[in-house]
């Protein structure tokens, strides 16, 4: 039987020093054994490297920033759909755009025939940083104790309960470790000035960071999971190198999360494993991480599996992966004709 050929649109082509996952996702799709692909790149800026990687991306269109609103985005995707014979599937890869794509889920499938495989809005909201402690309590996953505060006056009451050190976190970004109330107040002021309120005070957990890349099928089944530890980290905290781990307990925790929440779509879970061997969930990203090609390297092409699930194909869950598979990230200077930059800048497509 001949393989189907899917047209798949992918965002996050910014394979730069703090990379978006788009290129890794595309590499997984390109080596898929069950289908062929035409890749449509969706870019926000004219200098996202993926636009110029013609061996990976067949055609790129600029799309509006999420701040422009869903109607504008939908209108642009309608135009793109009209230029292409078909678009079977779309992979949003940025945190900031997920809200808009989740909201557009029904319209994209209903009106343009574009499928996606994403968490529900409830799942998306529930794992937000300020809600994560509640999320953990509800789904029986250990999350460091955290409390939202709106005023520096509340710090004392919280630290009395939690003790020191304590992590002072912004709503979206930034985290600092404070060892006394004065420091905590200082960080509160600094972070709230930049990222606004509330501020999260979180119990400090010491240990090793371990991550899991996986997919849930929306019915409580874990369809694939590869645990990884970062071996080397860039100054931006991004993985430079990592290795797949033999960690059955971590897989079980992941399975429980997916079973209890009926998680649908890809995810990256970040944990801290303490010296006593206890796992604390720090963050859930509702998308594939930039290191997701490691899943392909260790025998689970999760991107391929996800497309097949969304296409209604019968997909068996991955049960195995190659332990000890490493990835080492490298950067590369692409030579680009300025004509190409001109084209994407003035016409919005290349």
């Amino acid at each position: 039987m001949s393989k189907p050929k899917y047209t798949i649109a992918v965002t996050g082509l910014n394979a730069i020093d703090s990379p978006g996952p788009g290129i890794a996702v595309i590499r997984g799709l390109k080596v898929a054994e069950s289908f062929d692909v035409r890749i449509i790149g969706l870019s926000y800026e004219a200098m996202e490297p993926g636009i110029y990687l013609h061996n990976l991306v067949d055609k790129t269109y600029q799309i509006p920033y999420p701040s422009a609103g869903q109607d504008v985005l939908f209108e642009r995707l309608t135009y793109i759909r009209e230029q292409e014979e078909k678009i079977d599937f779309l992979f949003p890869n940025f945190d900031a755009e997920l809200y808009s794509f989740i909201k557009l889920h029904k319209r994209l499938e209903g009106e343009l025939g574009i499928k996606m495989y994403l968490p529900t809005l409830e799942q998306f909201e529930a794992r937000h940083k300020p809600n994560l402690y509640e999320f953990g309590t509800k789904y029986e996953i250990t999350v460091p104790f955290a409390q939202m505060i709106f005023s520096a006056n509340d710090i004392h009451a919280v630290t009395e309960k939690m003790g020191f050190p304590i992590v002072v976190k912004g709503k979206y970004y930034d985290a600092k470790i404070a060892y006394n109330n004065e420091q905590a107040t200082q960080y509160f002021n600094k972070i709230s000035a930049q990222w606004g309120l509330p501020i999260l005070l979180q119990e400090f957990v010491q240990g090793t960071e371990v991550n899991v890349c996986g997919i849930g099928d929306g019915n409580g089944n874990l369809m694939g999971a590869v645990p990884m530890r970062k071996l080397y980290i860039t100054d931006k905290g991004k993985a430079w190198a990592g290795v797949s781990l033999d960690d059955k307990e971590l897989i079980e925790i992941t399975r429980k999360m997916v079973a209890n929440t009926n998680w649908r779509g890809p995810f990256e879970m970040e944990f801290v494993k303490t010296s006593e061997g206890k796992y604390y969930l720090i963050e859930i990203n509702p998308r594939f991480p930039a290191w997701c090609y490691l899943t392909v390297g260790s025998g689970q092409n999760q991107m391929e599996a996800m497309v097949n699930i969304a296409m209604g194909k019968k997909v068996e869950p991955f049960t195995d992966y190659k332990i000890g598979t490493m990835f080492i990230r490298y950067s590369n200077d692409l030579i680009v004709d300025i004509k190409e930059f001109e084209k994407i800048s003035t016409e919005g497509e290349l």
């Binding site: 004219a46 509006p64 422009a68 209108e75 808009s100 509330p198 800048s345 919005g348």
Partner: protein, 452 residues
């Protein structure tokens, strides 16, 4: 050869990233008509700037809000929040649609009476009620929402003196998990102040406690907060029933539903993140229905929604006065619309559309108002097609608060019209004249001799 349409020459740097060509196209769709009435013709007839309301939109908003609540709860009553927009024509539409009046001052109270609302359908809220106001409200049998203990004592004294039992509710504030907590109005739930006030009312027996009122905040993006508030209000009502065997007739959940405007600093557009009225309705009605009222005791649900019912029905039309280049190279456009009539520009990034056709190129611009004051900034930064002096623009979502909070300052305030279903504009308010403005001014005799 026919001449081509001229558009001011513009050049913009490309490699600065951020905004791309496909950024905000829809925002730039020209808006040439409002509900079928021509923007240019209305400006010609009524002058620029001009407020324009859509009657169809207002009726649709109130009807769909009523539908959202009435399909979920058996007894619902809306009361139009006068302070949001108290143009008589606007209030009349809401009263035609069955809304009562919710007022927070004697001026608003008298306005509601003037608009033909019967006294027993005017909810009298707010911290500012004089003895005379209270007497008037008692005379008209209006529900008085008590804000503080001083008011409670005054009202009790007046009731004793008049030997009547006024109908009252108490305003309750509470922690619903949102910040900032509105604890300046009413009696606090968690600290027991609310129960203290209730006990005082029941102990004297001079006031007829018929309702409970709360208003948890403004531009609330979380329907859940209303759910929490609903449970706490129901808890009080059921407690009163058990303790005093008195049935609370209504629970007033106030207003605060967000409109589709975009708050400054918000990354996503208001239209994308603001919950539908149905989501607020679901949270509120579920909490009340599940609270454990015996079936006949289910209180009437009052809603004082203002902003969400009127904001998107209001437009402000204006004209470009001039373009200039600032010293740092930024483009600036001066409009005849100032912050004195667009007070909400202090917290919203309003959507702005040109009112005529244009090309596909855009530029970043600061939009200034006409006032000779540095604070007069309508938008700090907006991407618009190049516009020439004399071109027109339409500012969206200005129906709430812009009229009631407008200031007479430096220039005269514009006219307000409403477009009916047949696309005909009607005046709701004439533009101000110097005579209007000076009507109450006096010049003492000894100041009348001018040397010039």
């Amino acid at each position: 050869m026919e001449k081509k349409l001229y558009e001011r020459p513009i050049i913009r740097p490309l490699n600065t990233g951020l905004m791309n060509k496909y950024g905000n196209r829809t925002e730039y769709m020209p808006v040439t008509h409002i509900e079928g009435a021509s923007v240019k013709e209305m400006l010609k007839k009524y002058g620029s700037p001009l407020f324009v309301f859509s009657e169809r939109q207002i009726r649709e908003n109130i009807r769909s809000a009523k539908r959202a609540f009435e399909t979920r709860y058996p007894k619902v009553q809306f009361a139009w929040s006068y302070k949001t927009n108290y143009l008589n024509g606007i209030c009349s539409i809401f009263h035609q649609e069955g809304s009562w009046a919710e007022v927070v001052s004697r001026m608003e109270y008298d306005k509601a009476l003037h608009n033909g609302v019967s006294g027993d359908k005017i909810l009298f809220n707010g911290p500012d009620k004089t003895d005379a106001d209270l007497r008037e409200a008692i005379k008209n049998n209006s529900p008085i929402h008590i804000d503080h203990l001083d008011e409670l004592y005054r009202l009790t004294e007046i009731a004793t003196e008049l030997n009547v039992k006024p109908r009252v509710a108490i305003r309750v504030n509470m922690d619903v998990g949102v910040y900032p907590m509105w604890d300046r109005f009413g009696f606090n739930y968690e600290s027991g102040q609310a129960w203290d006030a209730i006990n005082k009312i029941m102990a004297t027996g001079k006031l007829n406690l018929i309702g409970l009122h709360t208003h948890i905040g403004t531009y609330m993006l979380s329907p859940n907060a209303y759910g929490v508030a609903g449970y706490k209000m129901a808890d009080l009502a059921i407690g009163i029933q058990q303790k005093f065997n008195t049935t609370i007739q209504y629970i007033d959940m106030g207003g605060g539903f967000a409109s589709k405007n975009t708050l400054k600093g918000s990354y996503l557009k208001g239209t994308d993140i603001v919950p539908e009225v149905a989501e607020y309705a679901e949270a509120i009605c579920t909490s009340l229905l599940n609270a454990g009222f015996r079936n006949n005791d289910l209180p009437t649900l009052f809603l004082e929604t203002g902003r969400a019912l009127i904001d998107d029905a209001g437009f402000l039309l204006g004209t470009v006065i001039a373009n200039k280049r600032l010293s740092d190279g930024r483009k600036a456009t001066i409009l005849d619309i100032g912050v004195n009539i667009l007070f909400t520009s202090f917290w919203y990034d309003h959507k702005i559309s040109p009112a005529q056709e244009f090309g596909s190129h855009t530029e970043d611009t600061v939009l200034y108002g006409p006032l000779c004051m540095n604070i007069d900034v309508v938008r700090e930064n907006v991407t618009l097609p190049p516009m020439n002096a004399g071109d027109n623009i339409v500012i969206h979502h200005v129906g709430a608060y812009d009229i009631t909070q407008s200031m007479q300052f430096i220039s005269l305030r514009p006219a307000v019209v409403i477009v009916d279903k047949m696309a005909n504009p009607h005046l709701l308010k004439r533009s101000e004249t110097l005579e209007d403005m000076q009507r109450n001014e006096l010049v003492p005799e000894h100041l009348k001799h001018n040397k010039n």
